[in-house]
């Protein structure tokens, strides 16, 4: 039994999943977070998902891998995924890896919910 790594909130038909961890680095941790994230689509059948990065201070390439897989899962389920509240250092990681091109990234949760 692993502890909850995502705070889940339902706002209308949108699921907002906020990462609890400050550091999404350690492999085991990333595995657990990945599984909880995938469960939103695979088990709960949620189609509109916002991932909120307010708490996240560090993120490794392994975590980026999970986000890419999540994006694919949501797209395969004909849903939509948005990322929000990413601090500048982390946004730089997305820019360096050009992942800002594949993810729909919004400044904050309000913007992420707008017209979703």
């Amino acid at each position: 039994m692993s502890t909850r790594r995502l705070d889940i909130e339902e706002i209308g038909d949108v699921t907002v999943a906020k990462f609890i961890d400050k550091k999404i680095l350690d492999e085991t941790n990333i595995q657990i977070i990945g599984n909880q994230m995938f469960g939103l689509v695979d088990e709960d059948g949620r189609k509109k998902v916002v991932l909120d990065f307010t708490n996240v201070e560090y993120l490794s390439s392994a975590a980026l891998g999970k986000l890419i897989t999540m994006d694919k899962k949501v797209k395969a389920a004909k849903g939509k995924l948005r990322l929000c509240a990413i601090r500048p250092e982390i946004y730089e990681v997305f820019e360096i890896t050009r992942l800002n091109k594949i993810f729909d990234i919004k400044t904050n949760q309000e913007q992420a919910l707008e017209g979703f």
């Binding site: 680095l25 350690d26 492999e27 085991t28 560090y58 490794s60 390439s61 392994a62 980026l64 891998g65 999970k66 890419i68 897989t69 994006d71 694919k72 250092e89 990681v93 360096i96 890896t97 050009r98 992942l99 091109k101 594949i102």
Partner: protein, 140 residues
Amino acid sequence: MPTPEQFEVTIPSDTAAGQAVQERIVNRLEELSFPARDVFGMRLALEEALVNAIKHGNGMDPDKSVHVSCRIDDAMVRVEIEDEGPGFDVSDVPDPTAEENLERPCGRGIMLMRAFMTRIEYNSKGNRLTLEKARGTGDE
């Protein structure tokens, strides 16, 4: 000027042990008031480098170790990470930002290390990595 800190440590092929080394180095940079971006970059580079050494280099083999040597002074941090694996050719790693690779979930670690460090270099065998970060101005 504080005296440079130098240490060598050998850790098992276990990511938790890698985390401990990472903490030690990052804490020292914070004590020396390195800019936040340097600390961020160093933590990220160490995470990527140690996970690569433990997972890809040593294949998580409990009989293999990772050797870390580190030198930190007020202006520069230099870390060498050596695994006991067969090594690899860094030029064989596909470019993760190429259009065809953009949606592949792996292959971004080396690119992030390059972006955040002043210099990174692999030995010819590919089992020893040197990371160097010169103190930034704090306003990049």
